[in-house]
């Protein structure tokens, strides 16, 4: 069974495809768009995207599984992405991850039972001057210590 996109989403997809000489080239932006609407990319979404771009579904699966920002399972409402790369670890970034694990009672890659938070360890986010840093959804937070993390979490209601 295949999912049907709304007329509005279809229109936005067509606006994206118009930028490229091949419909396949619109795949990453379209997946971002669809994931933004649905929260994650299930096999149904993959097939629907494949159909609208005229691709075999496997071409969509290949891409979804290659890129770390595409997710095939639902994430928490707040996706906490903590950098553990070199510049952040030189600024004691590991303790941010440990602090969040203890606070939320979940491991890396897990979501809290209430579906509010997902905790992910990520590679360099390109904000090393503010190390240690993390992203909450698409917002950057830098110069973190456990106290600052607490204040950020307070605001995520």
């Amino acid at each position: 069974m295949s999912r049907e996109f709304t007329a509005d989403l279809k229109k936005r997809i067509e606006e994206i495809t118009a930028r490229y000489p091949s419909r396949q080239a619109a795949l990453l932006p379209v997946l971002h768009l669809v994931q933004g609407e649905t929260g994650f990319l299930s096999a149904e979404e993959e097939r629907a995207v494949a159909s609208i771009l005229g691709l075999p579904p496997i071409k969509v699966r290949e891409v979804v599984t290659f890129y770390t920002m595409f997710t095939r399972k639902p994430l928490g409402r707040f996706h906490l992405q903590v950098c553990s790369n070199l510049s952040c670890s030189l600024a004691a970034g590991e303790r941010i991850l440990r602090h969040l694990q203890a606070k939320l009672g979940i491991g890396v890659g897990e979501t809290t039972p209430d579906g509010k938070y997902t905790l992910t360890e990520v590679e360099c986010l390109g904000a090393c001057e503010q190390a240690p840093c993390m992203m909450v959804n698409f917002d950057y937070h830098g110069n973190l210590d456990p106290e600052k993390v607490e204040r950020i979490m307070e605001e995520l209601k």
């Binding site: 971002h32 290949e62 890129y67 790369n85 070199l86 590679e123 360099c124 698409f138």
Partner: protein, 417 residues
């Protein structure tokens, strides 16, 4: 001499709005290039300026442009590499956030020089808010007639789009970027053919880094001689060095190409944090071989850093202090490349994961006596044996750490056992 060129207006409020940018003399370089110069004059001037790529490889930009055939029945493309995935690097983010119109100006001039009518900014997916800022700036540039059809009435057309990646270091490699832009996995291509002849959608393509293009308007306005005076003779202009790690003032520092690494760390970035001493430094992003504390009297231009056994890379200086065990640094390097190898070439796919496995057991106190030697052998077998530079990027820092810090690594292993 005022050294800041690219970043000199970064402190201005709302510089990212075209009104403010125009008040600072913005888009004068586009006007000058498009109305007073022929395309080949632009290429010649950029060649004379010795503008070298700011993304990592340091290839001369003007030369790259000249490889694209002037006459072809295919469309030509410009891809702006804004993937900025090299650990330690954050300079392009600062350019795009503060001064997106400077990048757009550089794009218009490059496109005019090479005869390109479609350009894509491939930006890493995490920079979503910056992608939106770029789109806002592009919209303003269209409204003012700097993009679109018949720019400045000279009959030159250019369409510019922002294309977001989705989290894959390999897409910063130029042919991985092309595959990704075409809607596929970012598996790098076999070269030749080079992108200048067969690139995006099988067409001639130029791929330039953000900072590289942001320099172009200044070369047009002030000339190649002015640009060369600001840098080294074979490597003109300034570089935006991004300093991170154990320094007092991490941040971006725009300085003449050829500034010494010691000066960057101790004068501009404020030296090491209190009570720490310099142990080592990675001069150009994680893929560049490490320098020990006594190797920092090196001029930071592409050729001098290469002669000293490393690479200027993206100018990302990562400073490591004496309290950090070198095994921790090695662990980060090993984990990153094992994660980011695209898996296409066997030496890289297997080699990076074997290296990671060995480093993990060293850290867990289960290291074997010959592990450091094995790391050297493994990385030597990756180096030069892969389609793309990720293999070298993974191998070279491991080799450098294993060779320069062999005694410390073996001592740490004994201590962990």
């Amino acid at each position: 001499m005022e050294t800041k060129v690219l970043t000199k207006d970064f402190g201005l409020d709302h510089l990212y709005r075209i009104g403010v940018y125009l008040e600072q003399g913005g888009y004068r370089a586009v006007k000058k290039a498009l109305t007073e110069w022929k395309p080949e004059q632009v290429i010649d001037e950029v060649k004379k300026a010795s503008l070298r790529g700011r993304g990592g490889a340091g290839f001369p930009a003007g030369l790259k442009w000249s490889f694209v055939p002037q006459k072809t029945d295919k469309p030509k493309y410009l891809c702006v590499n804004a993937d900025e995935g090299e650990p330690g690097t954050f300079k392009d983010r600062s350019i795009m956030a503060h001064d997106p119109h400077l990048l757009i100006e550089g794009i218009i001039i490059a496109a005019y020089a090479v005869g390109i009518h479609t350009a894509y900014i491939y930006i890493r997916g995490e920079y979503e808010l910056i992608a939106r800022r770029l789109e806002g700036a592009i919209g303003e540039a269209y409204a003012k007639g700097y993009l679109g059809k018949n720019i400045l009435g000279i009959g030159f057309d250019l369409e510019l789009y922002v294309h977001r990646g989705a989290g894959a270091y390999i897409c910063g490699e130029e042919t991985g970027l092309l595959e990704s832009l075409e809607g596929k996995r970012g598996n790098p291509r076999l070269k030749p053919p080079f992108p200048a002849s067969v690139g995006l959608f099988q067409s001639p393509t130029v791929i330039n880094n953000v900072e590289t293009l942001a320099n172009v308007p200044f070369i047009i306005l002030n000339g190649a001689g002015w640009f060369l005076e600001r840098g080294s003779p074979k490597d003109g202009g300034t570089r935006i060095f991004g300093v991170s790690g154990a320094v007092n003032k991490p941040g971006i520092y725009e300085l003449p190409v050829g500034t010494s690494l010691r000066e960057i760390i101790f004068t501009h970035a404020g030296g090491l944090k209190p009570g720490r001493a310099l142990k080592a430094v990675i001069p150009g992003g994680m893929s560049c071989p490490i320098f020990k504390a006594d190797e920092v009297d090196v001029k930071m231009d592409c050729d001098c850093v290469a002669a000293a056994g490393s690479m200027l890379g993206s100018g990302a200086v990562i400073v490591i202090d004496d309290r950090t065990p070198i095994l921790d640094v090695l662990s980060k390097v090993a984990k990153f490349y094992a994660h980011e190898s695209c898996g296409q070439c066997t030496p890289c796919r297997l080699g990076t994961s074997w290296i990671h496995k060995i480093v993990k057991r060293m850290a867990a106190g289960k290291g074997r006596a010959d592990d450091v030697e094995t790391l050297v052998r493994l990385s030597t077998n990756i180096k030069g044996r892969t389609l793309c530079p990720l293999g070298d990027a993974a191998a070279l820092p491991v080799l450098a750490i294993a060779r320069k810090f062999k005694a410390e690594l073996e001592n740490t292993m004994k201590g962990n056992a």
